[in-house]
């Protein structure tokens, strides 16, 4: 078996900075060789770096993986084994004396963005970014309209964007998808591209999508009666009166990730029979089997109360539910535990896991499966 690139470099003589320059020019960082991923950091020649770590959030693994210095050079490295198809977000942390600094990997241009900033991305062997999430000039684009909804229940205006599919025709009737954290799904999960492509390829039915945005997210999405009332009694009635929507349970779906998934579930729970389906990704479905200690902090208290109550008396809230979760995120345990609970109520649950974390790109990568399952397109009937 061929030695790893970093080990071949170590064997070279003389191992000097010029050789490292040449090495780095040839490599894409992290260096992915089968299951082994070599992370690299290079300090300056007059830079007194004392320690370096790769920082990630893979559940069950140490959060900070120490890097080793290569001989007496300025190059540091760490080798991690990542199963095929994995995608991991990480940063580099450096200690200089008492001073710690954390930043994205300067040697890796691949970044993932989120509302709280960006991270570097390691795509292990076998991972491919789905082509249906990229801009495709062949796909006819839908249209995004800004909608401001006075939200009485929430006591603030709600900014939404409404997606109308290409070939929108006011004489037809469309299903509705309501997306929590709407702007984040558009900005960080390429959801406009995804919708354009899936609809164009007939993987997904032509759908009107309402991208909603929270005011106080932690409060509104953690099993809030006001938020549920806003969706059920204000936003959706307005959309159904102004747009050609089906207006039936089968034509109403709620979607969200993380706390947005809790908001979706708890809204459907409060209005059983009103929504036909849910798409919930990496749901923050935290519960306790005994006691009240859950480790999520005060923000999770209402979520835990809701989930415990639901688990004590599970009910069928929709007909169909698509669930997904990354196996590297701590929420994997809660999500796996909820699958049989949901299925036990008679809901048709499709559950999917990926070697990924709690990230927008993980949620993006599962959209085709989720959306084309909830609102399937007519591809089955097209033979061109």
């Amino acid at each position: 078996m061929r030695k790893l690139a970093i080990n071949r470099l170590r064997d070279r003589k003389p191992l000097d900075e010029a050789r490292i320059d040449r090495f780095l020019q040839r490599q894409t960082v992290p260096i992915v060789e089968g299951a082994k991923c070599t992370f690299l950091f290079r300090g300056g020649e007059h830079d007194s770096v004392d320690e370096v770590w790769v920082c990630h959030r893979i559940v069950g693994q140490p959060d900070r993986v120490p890097m080793k210095r290569l001989g007496n050079t300025t190059l540091w490295y760490a080798i991690m084994e990542l199963p095929s198809g994995s995608r991991v977000e990480y940063q580099i942390e450096v200690r200089r004396g008492e001073h710690y600094e954390r930043f994205n990997d300067p040697l890796n241009p691949k970044l993932a963005h989120s509302p709280v900033g960006s991270s570097s991305v390691c795509q292990a062997a076998g991972y491919t970014e789905p082509e249906w999430a990229k801009y495709d000039p062949e796909s006819r684009p839908g249209e995004l309209l800004d909608v401001i909804q006075p939200a009485g229940a929430l006591r603030h205006e709600s900014r939404c964007r409404v997606y109308l599919p290409a070939r929108f025709n006011a004489t037809q009737r469309y299903p509705l998808l309501v997306v929590h954290d709407g702007d984040d799904f558009l900005n960080f999960a390429a959801m406009k591209n995804v919708l354009d492509n899936l609809i164009h390829r007939r993987d997904m039915a032509e759908t009107i999508v309402a991208f909603t945005n929270p005011g106080d997210r932690i409060k509104e999405y953690a099993n809030s009666a006001q938020h549920a009332r806003f969706l059920h009694s204000e936003l959706i009635p307005r959309l159904e009166s102004e747009l050609p929507l089906l207006g039936t349970p089968a034509g109403r779906c709620l979607m969200g990730a993380s706390f947005g998934a809790v908001a979706s579930l708890s809204t459907a729970y409060r209005y059983p029979g009103f929504f036909g389906s849910l798409v919930v990704q990496s749901g923050s479905f935290v519960f306790t089997d005994i006691g009240n200690t859950h480790g999520g902090g005060p923000a999770f208290d209402p979520v835990v109360r809701f989930m415990n109550r639901y688990r004590a008396a599970p009910t069928r809230v929709v007909d169909r539910m698509y669930m997904s979760c990354g196996i590297y995120e701590p929420l994997i345990v809660a999500n796996r535990s909820m699958v049989p609970v949901f299925r036990g109520t008679g809901m048709d649950v499709r559950y999917s896991e990926a070697r990924d974390g709690h990230s927008w790109e993980d949620w993006r990568d599962r959209l085709r499966e989720g959306l084309s399952w909830i609102y399937p397109g007519a591809a089955q009937y097209y033979y061109e």
Binding site: D203, R368, E369, S372, P376, A379, Q380, Y382, Y383, E384
Partner: protein
């Protein structure tokens, strides 16, 4: 009578075909599967050197719906009923497919008994297919008995015009698209009695499916659905004993020999014919040529072979 089946026409080669077969015009074209784009057929007309006459069946159908709202409502109701029936049938198929998948991954016990169980599962699929198509037939018959098209003026006028155009035609060109819309249009305007079967036909994709006697839907990579092919409806029956699979390499797990073998066994004695890009199968008097690619009972895709093999003479598995 000559029937030519083609692979998908993303890069059309119709002009060369028409020349090589010495087909004379005028050509009646059917692009109803393109639905609202039915009339965007200038490229097709170019390939036919300006000698095409589009029957505009889809637009005629919309006109019928506009002028006969009672028929339109009944048509919608029938379609909803058929789709619901299809969904129930899919549910049954998906359980049998799951059973087959479990048998395939099972390694313990007797291989001979497992083979018997696989054969039984194929029989279950064949039984479901047969029952389903019978139920579809019942719904269709009941619909036509209640709403006889030949008694509805909005339909009769179009039928007459379509028959006139067919009477003057030298060949029929049948394009792909949405199979349900295409089938509905072909049935509504009664193409068969109007002389459809006496003319040379060139058909591809959904068009090729529509002229067989049994239309089979398939997309084994789809997120939803039974994970296997499904019988959908009767076709025009111009071509019997053949089940066609347009874009087979894209829509079927063709690399999985066992899967493909089960497909051939399930639809036997009908012969499974893949129609991938570039395919051209010329059928004279119902005889499948020896060089036509078919899927055999072992799952191999190979030339049909044999002398004068009649479509439909593959033994039942």
């Amino acid at each position: 009578m000559t029937v030519v089946l083609l692979g998908p026409q993303r890069r059309p080669n119709l002009d060369k075909l028409v020349t090589s077969l010495d087909l004379g015009g005028p050509f009646v074209t059917i692009t109803a599967g393109w639905q609202e784009r039915e009339k965007d057929d200038s490229e097709l007309d170019r390939h036919l050197r300006g000698r095409s006459r589009n029957l505009h069946l889809w637009h005629r159908m919309q006109s019928v719906f506009e002028n006969d709202p009672q028929y339109a409502a009944a048509h919608r109701e029938r379609r909803a009923q058929l789709l619901e029936l299809q969904e129930l049938y899919q549910l049954g198929l998906s359980h049998t497919v799951q059973f087959l998948n479990e048998l395939r991954t099972r390694t313990s016990g007797s291989a001979a008994l497992r083979e018997l169980a696989v054969a039984d599962a194929v029989q279950v699929l064949r039984g479901m297919d047969k029952q389903h198509i019978a139920r579809v037939g019942e719904i269709q018959a009941s619909f036509y008995a209640k709403y006889p098209p030949h008694e509805r003026p909005a339909i009769v006028r179009h039928r007459h015009e379509v028959a006139q155009l067919l009477a003057d035609a030298g060949a029929i060109i049948l394009a792909g698209g949405h199979i349900i819309e295409l089938l509905d249009a072909l049935h509504l305007f009664n193409l068969n009695p109007a002389g459809f079967g006496r003319l040379p036909i060139v058909a591809w994709s959904a068009g090729a499916m529509a002229i067989t006697s049994r239309v089979v839907l398939f997309d084994e990579h789809s997120v939803r659905g039974p994970g296997c092919s499904e019988v959908f409806d009767h076709g025009l029956g111009v071509l019997t004993g053949v089940t066609v699979f347009p874009s087979a390499k894209q829509r079927l797990r063709t690399g999985d020999r066992q899967n493909m073998g089960l497909l051939a066994q399930r639809f036997a004695p009908s012969i499974c014919v893949p129609l991938d890009p570039g395919a051209r199968v010329v059928i004279e008097h119902g005889t499948l040529p020896a060089d036509a690619s078919v899927i055999d009972a072992t799952g191999a895709m190979r030339p049909r072979g044999g002398d004068d093999a009649q479509a439909g003479d593959q033994p039942t598995a």
